[in-house]
Symmetry: C3
């Protein structure tokens, strides 16, 4: 067994939680805070058999990898047309995963 | 030293915390969420000497193992007597424990 | 890579978070509860390269070691002068650190 500690943005947390449940990946969720940006994020703890680690990593990659999205910035308040009302590319998502060895797993 | 990560239902959390404190088991508590049922549960982190791991597992077994309880379902609102006002057996409690190796333990 | 689990009093948490960020130590913060005193404290999770572990321990020692502070106890409510309005020595701070082995670290 291994313990996977998975840190993702809150925007990806629900999708990831549902993908885990659908694939019978048992998980516990923690509300955490990013140390640098000081904003809320989500950490999953997953105790998983060694031979299923790669399946779980594939789910994480598919749902919450860093990716580019186009976003139209909010129109500036005085309503003027600024050249920034054209869509800009921003980076969202991303996952940090720590794979930890586990000596024993018990259920009582 | 080992790190025990212990996940239990909220209903067993206080009893377990008191049993740990009484037995001089140092512990830190986290409020967590079950990934499947999406309801709140409790996770304990316990740094403990290797030779005391079994004592701690005994405490967890005694206080928070899965067990059956009889429960009288709430009377249905229209007050009628239904055959379901007889006690039914339900399953409560349960603990998931991950025993992790620890390289060093420091107190500053 | 190692995972450092660092438990400190809330009063030291912000200073420690800023010291980590300034020294490019990546970190995730959890709000936790002390098992014995049942009061809130702070836990950091830090995935860090093996050769930087001692640098991180030095930061923790400098910012949040147990130390003595002088404190003037609040004046008793009836306003009388009591001998306890002279400063007394109290112990504050302290850090508990668990250094855990890590098999793999991924960023997606
Ligand atoms: N080794 C590690 N150990 C424990 N937790 C870890 C970790 N690496 C990442 N995390 C967690 O994952 C979140 C996202 O990290 P990411 O590296 O994608 O994105 C990071 C990174 O690109 C950047 N960053 C973090 N610390 C930095 C620093 N000291 N200087 C410059 N940029 C930093 O800011 C983004 C947000 O960081 P934030 O701390 O708010 O939130 C982090 C933190 O909560
Ligand atoms: N390997 C592991 N890694 C990390 N955390 C773990 C874990 N195994 C259990 N947990 C944690 O312990 C709680 C109770 O698990 P238990 O297995 O007793 O009881 C579970 C299990 O019997 C069942 N269950 C969980 N996932 C399922 C799934 N994908 N399909 C069907 N049943 C599931 O639902 C109950 C409640 O699950 P929930 O996720 O809400 O809450 C879980 C979860 O927070
Ligand atoms: N091995 C371990 N595993 C997991 N978490 C650990 C740990 N050792 C310490 N901690 C965490 O660090 C906090 C401060 O511990 P410290 O040892 O400085 O200071 C402790 C200790 O001096 C004392 N203490 C703890 N348990 C005790 C007990 N059963 N009997 C007597 N004194 C106790 O009370 C202070 C506050 O304890 P509290 O539990 O509220 O808060 C603890 C707990 O959240």
């Amino acid at each position: 067994m291994k313990l996977l500690i998975v840190i993702v943005q809150n925007k990806d947390a629900n999708k990831l939680q549902n993908a885990f449940a659908k694939n019978n990946v048992h998980q516990t969720k923690l509300s955490t805070t990013g140390g640098f940006l000081k904003s809320g994020n989500t950490t999953f703890m997953i105790g998983i058999e060694d031979e299923r680690v790669n399946d779980v990593l594939d789910i994480i990659k598919k749902v919450s990898s860093k990716r580019e999205q186009y976003m139209t910035p909010p129109v500036n308040l005085d309503g003027g047309v600024s050249d920034s009302s054209y869509p800009v590319k921003i980076e969202v998502g991303g996952a940090t995963v720590m794979e930890m060895p586990m000596d024993n797993f018990y259920r009582f």
